[in-house]
């Protein structure tokens, strides 16, 4: 545990990417493969499920520290993180653990599943007594299922490539999909032999950068293909070994969730991987994303919902054909092969080719973009026809060019403290718009302000709190913010009758008074 905690601190204590990678390299060079496998598992964002409830953890830690529940709660409000609060209140014992990370995970953490409270409590209290503060923090993060670290999968990939001499792209590919963190896995991960065996494994997704400048700076429009940018679930449909696999970009296997797409997969030739977007789709056009959300998370998909919200895979790209990885072929070729493939297997509209937006000039493309909302898209994708299918988010060949967001000026009315790096600061806001002479809550937003603005707003909230309801403060309605969002939907579950998609603060309108904020009628007019 000591080595893993030290790695965590080393990554946590620097903002320099090169130093983070160096710390990872040093760790992977010396860690036993079994520990290294768990480290890769955790650092690539795969978190253990929470096995012990937070209330219980809080109660056991308070009792171990001899503190009443209310004081734990006060402390938690200040720290904003359960694992850290527990770490900070527990008495120091002077102990530290030489035992390996895999021991802690496999012998202590995982067996907690299904144990009764008494056993769980005994294991937890015993663990806390055996660890120093740094180890305890990491341990608590694992226990609470909130382990996150300032190292992206990309950094882990880079470090592993450096340690093994295997190319980054190969490592990234081997990290995709489902795998068990075992010593064996780690050895295969860094093995020089690049023949891989897992039939379900997707390719790393290639992602587009937002286009900020003018598209004409991209050169000749003839070198580019424009497509609609859809707002769905990015996914890969894989057909290998007589089986279909559907993966989301979040690397979740969507098996059984989209039977109509898997049926399509069965028609594909052996050794095929298609990259596309899952959308709720009827009669040639998409339904709002909220419709798809009705399907996500349902255990049992009845015929009714399948009829009401049928899913379609809008195919963007072909990554594997006849069992061969064709990602390095130019897009022009990949798309042509994709087109004939889709046509050859097409039944109905459950698998379609992503329509291109065919225009002859950047001006006409700009016009087309302004129609994006009408077709149910959120903008335009621009891809260079000569581009390979890369790994991760890279500049240069693929760009997303979203339509300008909708905008509303709203008044800050409620605030709540944030967590993590915003702990103890009021950073989570609810905004209202005018409905007659009162403000109706309409959107929540957490992002968009600079750290400096955040501190100023925090100061304002502290000085202008009207009421406190638990952690929520009612704030004197005075500050106006320009909110941006991607879409609006009528909603019966919201007080304002409207649900907003991706709200964020675009600007603090210090030039506006609360009375000058927008009205609910104005918001409705944007529907």
């Amino acid at each position: 545990m000591r080595a893993f905690a030290r790695l965590f601190s080393a990554i946590d204590e620097t903002n320099a990417t090169s130093e983070k990678v160096a710390a990872l390299v040093e760790y992977f060079r010396t860690a036993p493969p079994q520990d290294a496998a768990w480290t890769v598992h955790f650092l690539s964002g795969r978190r253990p499920k929470r096995l012990v409830g937070s209330r219980k953890l809080a109660a056991w830690a308070s009792s171990e520290a001899g503190l009443p529940a209310w004081l734990f709660e006060e402390s938690y409000q200040t720290v904003g993180d359960l694992a850290e609060t527990i770490t900070l209140i527990l008495p120091d014992t002077g102990a530290s653990s030489e035992l390996s990370l895999s021991h802690w995970v496999e012998q202590r953490l995982l067996p907690l599943r299904g144990e009764d409270d008494d056993v769980q409590r005994e294991v937890m209290v015993e663990s806390w007594r055996e660890l120093d503060r740094r180890e305890r923090f990491v341990w608590n993060k694992l226990i609470t299922g909130s382990f996150r670290v300032g190292a992206s999968q990309r950094l882990v990939t880079r470090a592993l490539a450096e340690v093994s001499g295997v190319e980054e792209g190969v490592i990234a590919h081997r990290l995709m999909g489902a795998w068990e963190p075992t010593a064996d896995f780690f050895q295969r991960l860094i093995a020089p032999d690049t023949r891989d065996a897992d039939v379900s494994r997707p390719y790393p997704f290639f992602l587009a950068h937002p286009l900020e400048g003018d598209p004409s700076e991209l050169g000749h429009i003839a070198d580019w293909i424009a497509e609609w940018k859809w707002d769905g679930i990015r996914a890969q449909l894989i057909r290998r070994a007589g089986t279909s696999f559907l993966w989301s970009r979040g690397e979740e296997l969507l098996s059984g969730r989209f039977p109509e797409i898997e049926d399509q997969g069965a028609l594909l030739p052996e050794g095929t991987v298609i990259d596309g977007e899952l959308l709720p789709w009827i009669d040639g056009s998409p339904l709002p994303f909220a419709q798809l959300q009705r399907r996500i998370g349902r255990k049992n998909l009845g015929q009714k919902i399948l009829d009401e919200v049928p899913a379609t895979l809008v195919a963007y790209d072909l990554l594997e054909s006849n069992g061969e990885d064709i990602r390095s072929e130019p897009l022009r070729i990949r798309r042509a092969r994709l087109q004939s493939l889709v046509e050859s297997v097409r039944r109905g509209e459950r698998l379609i080719l992503s329509p291109s937006v065919d225009v002859a000039s950047w001006e006409s493309l700009t016009q087309a973009r302004s129609r994006a909302r009408e077709v149910g898209a959120e903008g335009i994708m621009l891809k260079r026809l000569s581009s390979a299918y890369g790994v991760g988010r890279r500049r240069g060949d693929w760009w997303k060019w979203k339509v300008d967001p909708l905008s509303v000026d709203a008044v800050l009315i409620y605030a709540q403290a944030g967590s993590g790096r915003r702990a103890g600061l009021f950073t989570d806001y609810t905004f209202g718009v005018w409905d007659g002479d009162h403000l109706v809550p309409f959107a929540k937003a957490y992002s968009g302000l600079t750290d400096d603005e955040m501190r100023k707003v925090d100061q304002f909230i502290r000085r202008h709190t009207l009421e406190k309801f638990g952690p929520v403060r009612t704030v004197k309605p005075e500050l106006v913010f320009e909110l941006h969002f991607e879409g609006l939907q009528p909603s019966s579950r919201h007080k304002s009758g409207i649900a907003v998609r991706f709200p964020r603060m675009a600007r603090w309108r210090t030039d506006k008074k609360a009375e000058e904020a927008d009205t609910i009628e104005h918001v409705r007019s944007l529907l």
């Binding site: 946590d12 204590e13 620097t14 903002n15 320099a16 520290a65 503190l67 009443p68 209310w70 004081l71 006060e74 402390s75 200040t78 720290v79 904003g80 993180d81 850290e84 609060t85 900070l88 209140i89 120091d92 503060r133 923090f137 967590s419 993590g420 790096r421 915003r422 702990a423 103890g424 600061l425 750290d451 501190r455």
Partner: protein
């Protein structure tokens, strides 16, 4: 009528007709220490502990009327017996003890009980009513051993020096900066300072505090090669063009708030060293208990939980709303000093 009352100018002792740490100019002010939220400029006469006079003068200007009192010396002010006792917060910081008709009050200002080579250690004073800060009044605040923190700071500096980097160490100008400098290992490299820090270093040295050699970085040319050096500067200099000219650097902030990860991360600094000039939770409770007071006034900080904790233990505790700020978690300079010039000066000392 209690011996002290809270007025809109600060704590007022009516029997003795003087204020303690007033936040507006008054005739007679007893000052616990020279930080800006406790020592407001413009009063006609000040009384402060002798070791702190040079520091207070550095902030109040050369013409301010400051009377120094030795720690423990008793002075009668209109029949109230006043004495100052070490608070261990910064050089010359004091607890103010008041005795009147057999009743004893202690106003402790800001204080810490951990050792600090740059000031006289905290002295427990028994009293009936104890006025205490609560800056770090939550059980999450328990300071790690100071020796470990200084070892971490020196190791960090050493590693930066080896990597050809400058170490930018941020800490409050008065008190924290000098305590940091006193704990640095001068064998690692040169210690450079921001002007505001160097000014206070001079006041400390004038009062006889021994600090390793430091060099004012302000006289150095625009783009400086300070690789291997440590630069001690106030928090508000972080991210400024002044700080950037030192080139390739690692940044750190020394403050009790750095014990909590989120507080460090939102500053986007490389390191946070948990070093505070205030008491942590266990020392706060131990000090309150050691005072023997049955009545506790709790000022700036986590007043509500501290009051509740004390009440649950049978003490008569109440929250008192002052304008004191304790250790701040923002980047504002804690510079105080004559803002307007030298008017309203009186040469009458508190007596």
């Amino acid at each position: 009528m209690p011996l002290l009352t809270l007025t809109d100018r600060g704590f007022y002792c009516e029997s003795g007709d003087f204020y303690i740490d007033p936040w507006e100019p008054v005739d007679r002010a007893v000052i616990t220490h020279a930080h800006g939220d406790h020592a407001t400029w413009g009063s006609r006469a000040y009384m402060a502990a002798e070791p702190g006079v040079s520091v207070l003068r550095a902030r109040m200007g050369p013409t301010a009327a400051i009377r120094g009192a030795r720690y423990g010396e008793t002075i009668s002010v209109n029949g109230v017996t006043v004495s100052l006792h070490p608070a261990g917060h910064i050089l010359g910081s004091a607890q103010v003890r008041l005795v009147h008709r057999g009743e004893i009050w202690v106003v402790s200002g800001d204080y810490k009980t951990d050792p600090d080579p740059t000031c006289t250690p905290f002295e427990p004073v028994r009293c009936h009513t104890f006025v205490t800060e609560s800056t770090f009044g939550l059980p999450i605040y328990r300071w790690p051993p100071q020796s470990e923190v200084f070892a971490d700071i020196n190791n960090w500096w050493r590693a930066n020096a080896a990597a050809g980097k400058v170490s930018m160490l941020y800490g409050y100008t008065l008190g924290k900066a000098q305590r940091l400098i006193a704990g640095l290992d001068p064998d690692i490299g040169p210690i450079l300072t921001h002007g505001a820090v160097e000014r206070m270093n001079a006041a400390y040295r004038a009062a006889g505090v021994s600090l390793p050699p430091t060099r004012y970085a302000g006289t150095m040319e625009r783009k400086v090669d300070a690789a291997g050096a440590i630069v001690v500067a106030p928090p508000h200099a972080s991210g400024s063009s002044w700080a950037r000219r030192f080139g390739h650097q690692s940044t750190a902030f020394a403050s009790g708030w750095m014990l909590v990860r989120g507080a460090r991360r939102r500053r986007a600094l490389d390191r946070g060293f948990p070093l505070s000039d205030h008491v942590d939770w266990p020392s706060l409770l131990a000090t309150i208990e050691g005072s023997g007071a049955a009545e506790i006034w709790v000022t700036h900080g986590f007043t509500a939980p501290v009051v509740r904790w004390l009440r649950e233990r049978g003490l008569d505790a109440q929250a008192v709303q002052t304008r004191f700020e304790g250790e701040r978690d923002d980047e504002v300079s804690d510079e105080a000093g004559p803002l307007g010039g030298g008017e309203a000066v009186a040469d009458e000392a508190v007596r």
